[in-house]
């Protein structure tokens, strides 16, 4: 069985993103970038399946500027076998990314595309579902448990009021919830080894895929959550504030 894992290079999710002074976008220059945490979960799961000998090959793919190569190297240091880098200077939206992935799914013929349920930057939560539709494949979204058998995947999905267990007919697109696993840290020897693993680089422009922007970002603004809070010294004081000042109880 072969798994394709798309990974995205994003602003590190521990960093507070800053809005550019002209409000045109988010400042990414000089900011620490990392693999989207949801994608790390997907890479980890694919590697575990390989270690259990259920999967024979894990291919990682990233689309973006040349530095996305670092993200592929991280995935390979975690245990992925090889990488595909699709270079593009433009910010791409989920529909375009799904179309590019569709191209490589057709080429690579994986049994499963395993990917994060959303990217921590655009929070769109759409690429996997769009890809599944384009391929006419089953989809398993927000998956917290994955068991593979011949031609089938049994998944546990996180839903509004609990969990749902489904059986998917393979091939399928599966998107991961953070609860699926705890991603490993790549060891130094594995980081060194990953440097020798192959990356195939393709320019998006050479693929002839329509990636015209459908959803234009007009402006961005900070959404402040800071409040002029007061620290009270006792439960009595808190009760007084909630009853007489805030009037919520």
């Amino acid at each position: 069985m072969k798994i394709l894992v798309p990974v995205k290079r994003v602003v590190d999710s521990n960093i507070k993103p800053l809005v550019k002074s002209d409000n045109s976008g988010v400042e990414v220059g000089g900011v620490k970038m990392s693999m989207n945490p949801f994608d790390e979960t997907a890479v980890e799961e694919a590697v575990r399946l390989k270690e259990q000998k259920i999967v024979s090959e894990v291919v990682v793919i990233s689309i973006g500027e040349a530095k996305s190569q670092d993200t592929l190297r991280t995935a390979m240091a975690m245990g992925a076998d090889r990488g595909v880098l699709v270079t593009s200077e433009d910010a791409l939206e989920s529909l375009s990314v799904a179309k590019i992935l569709q191209h490589f799914v057709t080429k690579e013929q994986p049994d499963i595309v395993l990917m994060g349920k959303q990217a921590s930057d655009d929070d769109m939560n759409a690429t996997g579902q769009i890809l599944a539709a384009k391929l006419g494949w089953a989809q398993g979204t927000f998956v917290s448990k994955l068991e593979l058998s011949e031609g089938k995947a049994q998944i546990t999905r996180e839903i509004d009021d609990g969990q749902e267990i489904l059986e998917l007919v393979l091939p399928a697109v599966i998107t991961t919830d953070l609860r699926l696993n705890e991603p490993r840290f790549a060891s130094l020897p594995n980081i060194m080894k990953a440097k020798k693993k192959p990356i195939e680089t393709v320019a998006l422009a050479d693929l002839g895929i329509d990636t015209a922007v459908r959803l234009e970002v007009k402006s961005v603004a900070e959404s402040s959550s800071v409040r002029e809070g007061v620290i009270v010294s006792s439960v009595e004081e808190l009760m007084d504030k909630l009853q007489n000042e805030a009037k919520v109880i």
Binding site: A132, A172, L215, V226, V230, I249
Partner: protein
């Protein structure tokens, strides 16, 4: 051209409040609002849905293949009637987020997730970066597919409407079933639904154990509130995942949010920052949660919570 709203409902024939928020968003588009009910055994739900305020027409698609709303056939169904609609709206919950982007793939449209504000018929506001930034986006697609956040659109009334009910007859069902439903594991709770609760009492890693959540339940009992949790508390196994508030969990905006032993990571704030009043109880005076709280108490939760419970009881 009209707007179609996909309805989401719970077991026990209850239309979710977030569906009513989705209708509220749809009414802002100044066009006819149609609601779509998909599933099996929809008699009671149809009756309820036809009374939702603001809905002019209710479409009902009933078939055993639609039980538990599987994304593949439901997206195909909506695609088959999409021609009549300029806008298709789904609630930004587990179902809407599963189905709407698949529909977008079928229709070759870029979906717009988690809309919190409708500026005009092609311009919308949505949060990015765990809600720390709001982006204003303009869609160039002829058809707009939106999922809407429940907390920012005030739900329409459950009654007052009188929609024309129309059964969809030509269901585009294929023989090949891509996903097969196996089992539903619902979390049992007598408390109000987290997303619609007036009061939410949430615990973090500092609660130390699942047993200690009883302390929060006692507070919630006094306030008829729901229980929430940070991801750290869920990961530590204190409560199940559907209690999680945050970027990857539920988005809540209650009148009162009480955060107990929650440090205040941006991923958590993403889920509760629009609460009206936020109270934080934490022993660490440097906890970032205090900066986003209206009232804070620095101290040991094991001392404070019983005191708070007693004070609430004595009200």
């Amino acid at each position: 051209m009209a707007v179609l709203v996909l309805l989401s409902y719970e077991k026990g024939d209850k239309i979710r409040p977030i569906s009513r928020s989705a209708i509220a968003a749809a009414t802002q588009l100044d066009t006819e609002v149609h609601a779509l009910l998909v599933g099996e055994n929809l008699e009671i739900l149809s009756q309820k849905a036809s009374q939702l305020n603001g809905v002019q027409k209710l479409l009902v698609a009933e078939h055993s293949a639609y039980a538990h709303m599987p994304a593949e056939p439901v997206a195909n169904l909506i695609a088959s009637i999409a021609e009549s609609y300029e806008f298709i709206i789904a609630p930004a919950n587990a179902e809407g987020k599963d189905i709407l982007p698949r529909l977008a793939g079928l229709l070759d449209v870029q979906p717009i997730s988690d809309v919190v504000e409708i500026i005009d018929t092609s311009t919308f506001v949505r949060p990015i970066y765990a809600g720390s930034i709001l982006a204003t986006v303009a869609s160039k697609d002829a058809k707009k597919l939106l999922s809407v956040r429940g907390t920012t659109f005030e739900a329409v009334a459950e009654t007052g409407g009188s929609a024309v009910v129309e059964k969809i007859e030509n269901l585009p069902l294929s023989e090949k079933q891509l996903s097969i439903f196996k089992e539903l594991k619902l979390s049992q709770s007598d408390r109000p639904e987290l997303e619609g609760a007036r009061v939410v009492v949430s615990g973090g890693r500092g609660m130390q154990s699942a047993e200690n959540f009883v302390l929060l339940e006692k507070i919630a009992d006094q306030l008829e509130g729901a229980i929430g949790a940070s991801r750290a508390a869920v990961d530590a196994g204190f409560v199940s995942n559907d209690f999680q508030v945050g970027q990857t969990g539920k988005i809540v905006a209650p009148e009162l949010y009480i955060a107990v032993a929650i440090s205040g990571a941006i991923q958590h704030l993403a889920g509760m920052k629009d609460s009206k009043i936020v109270v934080s109880i934490n022993k660490d005076p440097e906890a970032p949660m205090f900066k986003v709280s209206d009232y804070g108490i620095v101290g040991d939760l094991f001392e404070i919570l019983p005191q708070l419970e007693a004070a609430l009881k004595a009200r």
